[in-house]
């Protein structure tokens, strides 16, 4: 071995560049340290309380006692974190400063538009324009997003690509990151091409958290051949683990539809065989969950993993309910939107199950047979007993908020744990860009 090898390595290292210059690093690290300490204290206290509770849970007659569920009796004296009752799409960059300190705190909503990524903090309803390293907003659109907020609002998953470009214009590296919004730190992972040689040009989108926020599902493709070479990945960000990559390309729709991930990590995806089946994987084998699901594109697992609520694209008058625990031979049953409120149907984005028979959804009503209105209802859909004239289960719709989409080309992801039947949304001041738009609109209406 010669010193020449060392010298040559040193010359290659000269290309390294100056490195990160992050003035917020110290502050973020110290906050993360405090959070970790606090978590340790809370865990220790919780363990102590659990021990005390175990000793006191059995009364004199041996009957178990249980405090009421805190969700049943919210503490009204402290408003706490919440989803805004009006959520605004962000026009352009919204006039917001780019924030590089990503420890903004727990978020209630994430917004993606072609200019960037934004979150609304859960405690104050403020909008933040995040400088996510490697996030390429222009690579996505309102239908295919590269952002997903975890159900509890503490983590933001996003697709990333290296800023260094190859000569052919494609990023050198790409993958998926899960950013902890409380500390500003992230876990980064990369996917590899089918050959296993490289992760160049691999592109992740349509990110989906499991109902409990444990798992993260993503569609993955190679940019040059998107739609032909694609697969699914399931990750467990808390343990920084790539759980599974699922290959089954011949029967998948092209381009692939989003996968759905249950709390147990079970994955469901659509197949395009003649019977339009839904199939699930347990990591080893596939199982048919339902047939005749043509037109459906995505959905959400119930917390117990037994039911899938599903919807398709375009204006819909109902949603589909798939028995995910059944034999798989049945077509889905339907739950019908009230015609009086949605005479032309609605574009349905199912967000999460919030109860045994209740689903949170964003419903953007049709204002004509093929025309969407500017705003969406944030609504709790409750399955009603009995059947409607159309033959499906009825749906009671409780509108708990409004999503103002307008012309902003924004896509939204919600911290669905923050929406409960007892305290669905909170009122916050409108962000400056929305207030300015409202003023401009008022001036225009007044004819001045």
């Amino acid at each position: 071995m010669t010193d020449q090898l060392h010298d040559l390595l040193a010359r290659i290292a000269d290309d390294a560049g100056p490195g990160p210059a992050d003035p917020t690093l110290w502050g973020r690290a110290r906050r993360a340290r405090q959070v970790r300490r606090r978590q340790r204290v809370v865990a220790a206290v919780a363990a102590g309380l659990a021990a005390v509770a175990a000793l006191t849970a059995v009364g004199p007659e041996g009957a178990s006692r249980r405090d009421p569920d805190p969700v049943d009796q919210p503490d009204r004296s402290s408003p706490g974190p919440g989803v805004p009752s009006v959520v605004y799409g962000v026009p352009g960059d919204g006039g917001l400063d780019l924030e590089t300190d990503l420890s903004v705190g727990r978020a209630s909503v994430a917004v993606a538009n072609p200019t960037g990524a934004y979150v609304v903090t859960a405690d104050d309803g403020a909008y933040h324009r995040l400088g996510l390293p490697g996030y390429d907003a222009a690579a996505y659109d309102a239908q295919v997003t590269g952002l997903a907020l975890s159900p509890d609002g503490t983590r933001l998953a996003y697709g990333w690509a290296s800023t260094a470009l190859r000569p052919d214009g494609y990023p050198r590296r790409s993958g998926l990151r899960a950013l902890d919004l409380t500390t500003g730190t992230w876990w980064s992972t990369r996917f590899h091409e089918p050959s296993g040689i490289s992760d160049l040009n691999v592109f992740a989108w349509d990110l989906r958290w499991s109902p409990d926020g444990r798992y993260l599902g993503a569609s993955v493709a190679i940019r040059e051949v998107a739609g032909q070479e694609h697969w699914y990945a399931v990750l467990e960000p808390a343990t920084e683990r790539l759980v599974e990559e699922i290959w089954h390309p011949k029967q998948w729709p092209d381009p692939p539809l989003p996968i759905m991930v249950s709390a147990e990590g079970r994955v469901v995806a659509m197949e395009t065989d003649p019977r339009e089946r839904l199939a699930s994987w347990d990591g080893k084998e596939r199982r048919t969950l339902g047939r005749d699901v043509a037109g459906l594109s995505t959905g959400r697992f119930s917390a117990d993993g037994r039911t899938l609520a599903m919807a398709g694209d375009g204006l819909l008058s109902d949603i589909a309910l798939v028995d995910a625990g059944g034999s798989g031979g049945d077509a889905p049953s339907t739950a019908v939107l009230p015609r009086r409120r949605y005479p032309y149907g609605a574009a349905v984005d199912l967000l999460a199950w919030t109860g045994e028979r209740q689903v949170l959804a964003a419903l953007r009503p049709g204002v004509g047979p093929t025309t969407l209105g500017p705003d969406a209802d944030l609504a709790l859909l409750t399955l009603a007993p009995g059947f409607t004239e159309e033959g499906g289960v009825g749906l009671d719709v409780e509108v708990v908020g409004r999503v103002s989409v307008g012309e902003t080309r924004s896509a939204f992801s919600f911290a669905t744990d923050l929406v409960t039947a007892a305290s669905p949304t909170r009122d916050f001041d409108a962000p400056p860009f929305a207030a300015a738009a409202a003023d401009a609109s008022a001036v225009a209406r007044s004819g001045r």
Partner: protein, 170 residues
């Protein structure tokens, strides 16, 4: 140390040593963005534990850098396959007029992360085999065999590197 003094010392360390850390990180990852991520992650962890660092911080930070890179490679599901070497031979031989540095860069890109890490620690950081084993949490025998495989692969990919490595290498 008082908190303000801690922050000042950390900032001073970051200012003085980030470039040196970046050089190692770039050799380990062969990617500017990943190198930045790696250095950022190492500095972040160092800042979290700053007051517990006994003596000079650099060895501590470098150790984090190495181990973090190890954990990144262990998370990967698929490594570089043996067949990729064949592709690389073609590429390197076709470029018969490129200099040794370019040949070495191309060859480094085709090592597995583990091979590259061992090579960088042994040949650039000048760590001994026991030191490399301790830092990476692997056996000394594994360091030896991985280092040998790395050098063999460099030679297979770019025979011109024999000038640097020496025939049969030590």
């Amino acid at each position: 140390m008082a908190p303000m003094a801690d922050e000042a010392a950390f900032v001073s360390f970051v200012t003085a040593r980030t470039w040196a850390l970046m050089r190692t990180a770039y050799l380990l990852t062969r990617d500017h963005q990943l190198a930045e991520d790696l250095v950022q992650a190492a500095l972040f962890k160092a800042a979290m534990a700053w007051e517990r660092i006994d003596g000079e911080p650099e060895p501590y930070v470098r150790r984090i850098l190495y181990t973090e890179n190890v954990s990144w490679w262990r998370r990967r599901r698929r490594g570089v396959t043996e067949s990729s070497a064949g592709v690389a031979v073609d590429q390197a031989d076709r470029a018969g007029d490129v200099d040794l540095q370019v040949s070495l860069e191309r060859a480094l890109d085709l090592l597995t992360p583990k091979q590259r890490t061992v090579l960088v620690l042994r040949c650039y950081e000048d760590l001994t085999e026991p030191e490399t084993a301790r830092v990476l949490g692997i056996a000394v025998g594994t360091v030896k065999s991985t280092h040998r495989q790395a050098l063999d692969r460099l030679l297979a990919v770019a025979p011109r590197l024999g000038e640097l490595i020496g025939v049969g290498h030590d």
